[in-house]
């Protein structure tokens, strides 16, 4: 037997406790690492999903008029003019509420049929009152129809909501409501009561609170309420650099109104995913530490075994075994331990995965994660076992008669 598997197994069997413990340690580590990699991958996919907007070029800010005063259309238009005049600003738009990733917004049910119709099917979606520049400023991609016309935007006083307006909807919502037909020119009902004419369809983008079920269902509406507050979104090459200028431009017109929360879309996205970023870092840390602890364990146990068997090694050398054969002996021993541990670890990993699926509504762990983690562990532990095994290979033949 070229790899000495039989004598290795026999000698492992004889000492039992040590090998069993090291198998337990490796198996547990493989189970943890495979589940951790799986969690990690889920988080990375989530963080990296497309926002559907030109997020890296955007910044937002909101203004609130003096107490008791409401915004007027002229004020909003003047603000936008001032913002567009800033150097570095490519475009600017007013958005009533539900700015992407702002965690503040509103939603409503949308349907093709009005309330009272028994066949009415409704789907919740974010409502985004927005002006004619919003599609271009946010960097949304029109797939059908058109953006709003400037003359189409209806700035209405508080509590005087107009009877109708135009709407631009995302592809997901269009697909749900119109099932492949073209929505342009059709009517959708807001809350089953307010008819809106669809003038355009845009590619999906993530809305004001992407953790909701309707993250990709957004409706831009051409009517903006003149309340005390409005959001502005600006687009430019360097959005972070625009922030001081944006604040100044808005505050200059009235020192006693509130200009607040000027920030880049990139920073809003970071805040939104902060728990996921934290989890990614913690999971990576756990994996690194696990590999470290295991490496430590393998170095320790192999060193011990080498010392314990100096005599046997000496005898084998005296009987003509090459250094390579000795080295191979200890490394194959390690392969056997890791292979056994991978089997046990895979069972543990699948059991843990099953628990998370059943109790925490998570996706099932694919079967090949544990063998993969076992493979990585094998590489790391072979490297760890190399150093003590080499020392074994250098044991001289005279050890056979030493002591």
């Amino acid at each position: 037997m070229i790899l000495d598997t039989a004598p290795i197994l026999k000698s492992l069997w004889r000492s039992k406790v040590g090998p069993l413990l090291i198998i337990a340690q490796l198996a547990l580590s493989i189970a943890i690492i495979s589940n951790a990699v799986f969690f990690l991958q889920g988080r990375v996919d989530k963080i990296q999903r497309e926002t559907g907007a030109d997020s890296q070029a955007l910044a937002q800010v909101w203004v609130k008029e003096r107490p008791g005063e409401l915004l007027r259309q002229e004020i909003i238009e003047r603000d936008l003019e001032n913002l567009r005049a800033l150097s570095g600003v490519r475009n600017a738009a007013a958005i009533g509420q539900s700015v992407p990733f702002s965690h503040s917004g509103g939603s409503s049910g949308f349907s093709r049929l009005p309330e009272g119709d028994p066949k009415r099917v409704s789907k919740p979606a974010a409502t985004m009152p927005a002006d004619h520049a919003a599609v271009a400023t946010l960097g949304l991609t029109l797939v059908e129809g058109r953006s709003f016309f400037p003359e189409e935007i209806d700035y209405y006083p508080r509590n005087q909501r107009p009877g109708t307006a135009s709407a631009i909807i995302t592809e997901s919502l269009a697909e749900f409501l119109f099932e492949g037909q073209s929505p342009v020119g059709q009517t959708v009902f807001l809350a089953g009561a307010v008819p809106l004419t669809v003038v355009g369809v845009v590619e999906d983008f993530l809305g004001y609170f992407p953790a909701t079920d309707f993250a990709y269902d957004n409706v831009l509406i051409s009517a903006i309420e003149l309340s005390e507050k409005v959001n502005y979104v600006v687009q430019g090459e360097d959005p972070a650099g625009l922030l001081p200028g944006v604040r100044q431009a808005l505050q200059n017109t009235d020192a006693r109104r509130i200009v607040k929360d000027e920030r880049t879309m990139a920073s809003m996205i970071r805040v939104h995913y902060s728990d996921d970023y934290a989890m990614v870092i913690l999971l990576l840390l756990v994996m690194v530490l696990l590999v470290f602890v295991n490496t430590l364990g393998v170095v320790g146990i192999t060193t011990f075994w080498v010392n314990q068997r100096r005599r046997q090694v000496g005898i084998r050398r005296a009987l003509g075994a090459t250094r390579l054969a000795i080295l191979r002996y200890f490394l194959v021993e390690n392969v056997i331990l890791v292979t056994l541990a991978t089997f046990v670890g895979a069972c543990l990993a699948l059991m843990a995965g099953h628990y998370f699926t059943a109790h925490h509504a998570m996706a099932a762990l694919p079967w090949w994660y544990a063998p993969f983690a076992g493979g990585v562990m094998l590489i790391m532990t072979q490297a760890a076992a190399w150093w003590p095994s080499q020392r074994a290979a250098r044991v001289p033949a005279r050890e056979a008669i030493a002591g």
Binding site: V17, G18, L21, I22, A24, Q25, L28, S29, A31, I32, A36, F39, K64, R66, P67, G68, E115, P124, N159, Q160, R161, A191, G192, A193, V194, E228, K229, A255, R256, R257, I258, K260, V271, S274, D275, Y277, A278, M279, I281, L282, L283, V286, L289, L290, V293, N294, L296, G297, G300, I301, T303, F304, N307, Q308, F356, H360, M362, G403
Partner: protein, 437 residues
């Protein structure tokens, strides 16, 4: 005897400094990971109203859409409509009634000497202060009359007191809130932060306390900008603020305290009668349903402990298990190498138990060192958690809990990692080793 064993253990630890250091380090990392996640978990899962859990209740009434269930929590809206909340305040007769809602307001000095600020505020009835244990630095809550009529009085934070009055005694002075003059009746102590913020879990459970409290019924007079959730299902024609107050929109968080079982029974009877009465008027079209949730139930329904919190605890416990098994393997290796010494001791008359205890002492020394280092590392772990999670600033802090947990871990890790190797070495046959020597 104990000190003798400990001295032997220390000598043995020093004899293999690298191996011992590696064992201590491994145990320390496992313990630090567990201390960090458990400290976080303990605070996140705590109930700040535990002492009045039996008498304080969050009220939920099912006034939702007859055709569809409410989409979140337990299928009933977390908040009440204005008219229902007001009915509970006026006629519910509970021992204490808290109606509250999160708003954002512009605050200015009366002489416009400082730039206006927008602040996080709450509309609340005065029982909020006693139910949620808000301590006062100066003054106190507004009067019952001011409460019932929604007078222009205000309780402010210590931070606002410093901002507007530079620390002067502020009670009786005024500030402008949303352009109106409000008289200051009290200043909250800055110690008040409720973690988790059980009074309002809709916009996050770990947030800074509000800067101002206004008597709830000011909302009868004028609108305020909500910084919380306003949820509705019905399309209603709203042409004025009074119309808004009369809608089916749910936005008022409602709590009651009911100090005796009789009071609770009476209050429940009141709710049943009230809902029946409203059904006659065409409201509450769904089957009769209401909930009185204890703070503990409320925290659980609102999912304050996140899935990530749980996963991290499992992960760190599994990690500690690996570290301990690792320590067992290394200790076993080390003890068996010293087996000849043990054999010699046995031949000289030491009992198996004595050899066992001697070796367990070494495991205890390593466990204790590992725990001490682990406690130190967990301090850095918590600093790390605070920098990773912006909303755990108040949460991820070392406490008595952390220290006690560290002691428990020290004991457990010493026993777990030491018992098996010590037992193995205590079984060694003296004859065999004596011969080998």
């Amino acid at each position: 005897m104990v000190s003798y064993y400990l001295r032997l253990a220390w000598l043995s630890v020093k004899k293999t400094p690298v191996l011992s250091a590696l064992m201590v380090l491994a145990i320390a990392m496992g313990i630090a990971a567990c201390l960090t996640t458990l400290t976080l978990y303990q605070v996140v899962s705590s109930n700040p109203l535990a002492d009045k859990n039996a008498v304080t209740f969050a009220v939920q009434l099912d006034s939702w859409d007859p055709n569809e269930d409410y989409w979140a929590v337990n299928g009933v809206p977390e908040q009440l409509t204005y008219q229902d909340a007001k009915a509970i305040y006026r006629t519910g007769n509970a021992d204490q009634t808290v109606l509250t809602s999160r708003i954002g307001v512009t605050v200015e000095a009366t002489d416009a000497s400082t730039p206006p600020k927008v602040e996080d505020a709450r509309l609340a009835t005065r029982d909020f202060f006693s139910v949620f244990d808000v301590p006062f630095r100066y003054g106190g809550p507004w009067s019952a009359t001011a409460d019932a009529h929604g007078e222009q009085q205000v309780v402010i934070s210590t931070a606002l007191q410093h901002h507007f009055f530079a620390g002067e005694y502020p009670v009786g002075k005024s500030v402008m809130v949303e352009g109106e003059v409000y008289t200051i009746v009290g200043v909250m102590d800055e110690r008040w932060t409720m973690t988790p913020s059980v009074y309002d879990l809709n916009t996050g459970a770990f947030k800074e306390p509000p800067q101002l409290f206004l008597p709830f019924f000011n909302v009868e007079r004028r609108p305020f900008a909500s910084w919380g959730n306003v949820v509705g299902w019905k399309n209603e024609d709203v042409r004025s603020h009074q119309d808004f107050l009369a809608t089916e929109m749910a936005w008022v968080q409602t709590w009651v305290s009911l100090n005796t079982p009789e009071a609770r029974a009476e209050f429940e009877q009141f709710l049943v009668n009230y809902i029946h009465n409203e059904k006659q008027k065409g409201r509450f079209e769904r089957p009769l349903k209401y909930y009185l949730n204890t703070p503990e139930q409320w925290l659980s329904i609102n999912g304050v402990v996140s899935r990530d919190n749980r996963i991290l605890v499992y992960l760190s416990l599994a990690f500690l298990a690996v570290c301990l098994v690792n320590a067992v393997v290394l200790l076993l290796a080390k003890f068996l190498r010293k087996a000849p010494e043990a054999g010699l001791r046995r031949a000289l008359g030491a009992s198996r138990a004595a050899v066992f205890v001697q070796h367990l002492a070494e495991a205890a020394v390593i466990g204790a060192l590992g725990s001490a280092l682990g406690l130190l590392l967990s301090w850095f772990g918590l600093v790390g958690v605070r920098s990773l999670y912006s909303h755990y600033q108040e949460v991820a802090v070392m406490s008595g809990f952390t220290v006690i947990a560290a002691l428990v871990f020290a004991l457990v890790s010493a026993l777990v990692s030491g018992a098996l190797p010590a037992w193995q070495v205590s079984r060694s046959q003296p004859a065999r080793y004596l011969k080998a020597q």
